[in-house]
């Protein structure tokens, strides 16, 4: 399928090596560990390496500031851009301060402040995704966690300038997708993108968070698989052994992808970008369609679904 979201030739080249069989079994669990490696670069690390100047914004102007999300404007290859990301901490104190990268509604509302600025100034918008999910807390609920995530997606979908979302670590649940409705969604080679964290999935499906490994193997959320499913448009290579072994090289690879992609997206009109962005998400999914003449028949529902030989 030749689609405008598939990207330029170099992306095909770097993703070619993922044409092998689906990643399954124990390899998936290894991928989860790599995606969560505590020395893996976080958004502030990438920003530090790629942007000589960066101004962070704080607060949602309603209630508070959420350290699990960093947002700001930076100078990137001589132009202003808006950058946002889920930020985790490395030591115990920093982890607690960043709430393990689990944002509350204040974080997403801060993000929407940045989106408004990006819309006004037509700034390219770059999102770096790395979260086990949005924070499950009573306060977060009562201040509108669900609505904040939904509105963040809608606001991002409507941005006029190019938008790129990069899964740099673990992307889990709506807490990740809230920053992921972009023209291009890419994943670093050892990142994961899933409906829920393995622990959360295990608690729901097996009623036992200890079955996380089983859940991970069922979700198969690796970059290669997400590329195959059309969830990721490209996979950005990491240095051998993972991004944490050589953060500068990881940043350089990301830089190559970002500059080329922004150049390509810059060439489109606002209307075209919005249409392509909508089409991209509209297409995602896997279902089958019964022939029209049988569509009204409830009797058809007993038929076995295709691809069901598990």
């Amino acid at each position: 399928m030749s689609s405008p979201t598939r990207g330029p030739r170099f992306v095909r080249r770097i993703t070619q090596r993922f044409a092998g069989p689906e990643v399954e079994g124990g390899d998936v669990w290894d991928a989860i560990q790599l995606a969560r490696h505590q020395d893996r670069p976080y958004p502030l690390d990438y920003i530090g390496m790629l942007m000589p100047d960066f101004e962070e914004i704080h607060g949602d102007r309603l209630h508070g500031d959420d350290a699990a999300i960093v947002a700001g404007i930076g100078r990137y290859h001589d132009r202003p851009v808006a950058v946002i990301g889920h930020q985790k901490g490395r030591d115990a104190k920093d982890r607690a301060y960043r709430n393990f990268g689990m944002p509350g509604p204040e974080g997403y509302r801060k993000g929407m402040r940045l989106m408004e600025l990006a819309a006004k100034m037509r700034l390219p918008f770059i999102a770096l995704i790395d979260t086990p999910g949005a924070f499950p807390g009573a306060d977060a609920e009562e201040r509108g966690q669900g609505g904040a995530i939904a509105r963040s997606m809608l606001t991002m979908l409507r941005l006029p300038a190019p938008t790129v979302a990069v899964v740099i670590g673990e992307g889990s649940s709506g807490g990740a997708l809230a920053l992921g409705v972009a023209d291009r969604v890419v994943m670093l080679e050892n990142s994961t993108y899933s409906v829920i964290s393995p622990e959360g999935g295990a608690a729901i499906l097996w009623r036992d968070a200890g079955k996380a490994k089983l859940a991970a193997q069922a979700f198969k959320p690796t970059a290669a698989n997400c590329y195959r499913w059309g969830v990721a448009d490209a996979v950005v290579p990491e240095p051998h052994g993972g991004a944490h072994t050589n953060p500068e090289e990881a940043a350089r690879q990301l830089d190559v992808y970002l500059t080329r992609t922004l150049r390509e997206l810059d060439a489109l009109s606002v209307a075209d970008r919005r249409r392509i962005r909508r089409d991209r998400f509209r297409r995602i999914g896997a279902q089958r369609e019964l022939p029209p003449d049988s569509s009204a028949l409830m009797a058809q529902s007993a038929e076995s679904p295709s691809g069901g030989a598990a």
């Binding site: 997606m153 409906v195 499906l205 959320p221 909508r278 076995s304």
Partner: protein, 331 residues
């Protein structure tokens, strides 16, 4: 109808989550999990699954809801031909295809049923979730049916109404299920461009990815009494944060207090409430201003005269001059 003496424990009165299923009783009888009143299946159907004694709202299937909401119980299905597949070859305690088969055997084809209908004579499109089908979970079919329902609303130029009842994204479709959240947002943006209202009715339970996507973006949002509405459910929150939650945490009435819904509406009154809302929102067709009229209004009498002299000017060109043509990128 013979009733048992009502004995209510404090726990039951405070009970946060109403039981998912009415207790099975011999014959057609059911009992209310809140007040323990017994009633027959006919009585249950007549009250659209609301306990006549205490007002407890039982879960109600999507088709029964559509029959109840639509004038004369008549509605035309949308997207019925779409069925689930198993893209991940997913196995948890049971293979996903088996789960689909047993859910389908209960009579529904997916967790979202959509239809075109009239409410109090007003045309609209409805997308109704069914908790009985795999916990109302949102997978690819739910996402695609929702998108087609929105498309149909845009075609007809009518409002889209949704009744939500869902545990969230469907685990068995992995990240593809997550993406349906974004897909539903795309459909709402199409409604935005077309200037059409989106009305949400939150039924028990509306949680996870459904609450964190289209369910929380209604222009007008109703909730059924006692419905649990949350991104993370109380069990997850208590496990994660060790917080002790108030007994009414996340319930419709409390969400009303916190400003997350516009009104708590009894299911039996829903068709009338929606009918009145649709009447308020109904827009008479807007007259297209003539080019000459516009130019004259702007004081360009000369240009207006030319415009009047060019009746052969195609409608399309005229629209383009006035910027009234179909929006680029719109449907």
């Amino acid at each position: 109808m013979a009733r048992r003496p009502i004995s209510i424990s404090i726990d039951r009165l405070r009970g946060r989550a109403p039981a998912q299923k009415p207790a099975k009783l011999p014959g057609d009888e059911r009992s209310c999990p809140r007040c323990e009143t017994h009633f027959s299946a006919q009585e249950f159907a007549r009250n659209v699954g609301v306990c006549a004694a205490c007002g407890h709202h039982f879960p109600l299937g999507a088709r029964a809801r559509l029959d109840h909401m639509a004038d004369g119980g008549r509605w035309t299905p949308i997207g019925e031909e779409l069925r689930a597949i198993d893209p991940l070859q997913f196995v948890d305690l049971q293979p996903y295809p088996e789960r689909i088969r047993s859910a389908e055997a209960k009579g529904n084809t997916e967790a979202l049923v959509c239809g075109e209908l009239a409410i109090s004579g007003q045309t609209c499109v409805a997308a109704i979730m069914d908790f009985g089908f795999l916990g109302g979970s949102m997978g690819s079919v739910v996402g695609e049916r929702f998108a087609r329902a929105a498309d149909r609303a845009v075609e007809l130029g009518c409002p889209l109404i949704t009744v939500t009842s869902s545990g969230g994204a469907r685990m068995q479709e992995g990240v593809l299920a997550l993406m349906q959240m974004a897909k539903s947002i795309v459909s709402l943006d199409e409604l935005n461009d077309a200037g059409l209202p989106f009305i949400v009715v939150l039924a028990h339970p509306t949680t996870g990815g459904v609450w964190a996507s289209f369910a929380s973006l209604g222009d007008i949002t109703y909730a059924e009494p006692g419905a649990l509405i949350a991104f993370s459910g109380p069990r997850v929150i208590e496990q994660t944060t060790r917080e002790k939650l108030p007994s009414d945490f996340g319930l419709a009435e409390r969400q009303l207090e916190h400003g997350h819904v516009d009104s708590v509406v009894d299911r039996r009154e829903l068709p009338a409430r929606l009918g009145s809302l649709l009447r308020i929102l109904h827009q008479p067709p807007r007259p297209v201003p003539s080019l000459a009229g516009q130019l004259a209004a702007n004081g360009s009498e000369g240009a207006a005269r030319i415009a009047r002299a060019l009746p052969q000017l195609s409608r399309r060109l005229r629209d383009r001059v006035l910027g009234e043509g179909p929006q680029r990128g719109g449907q």
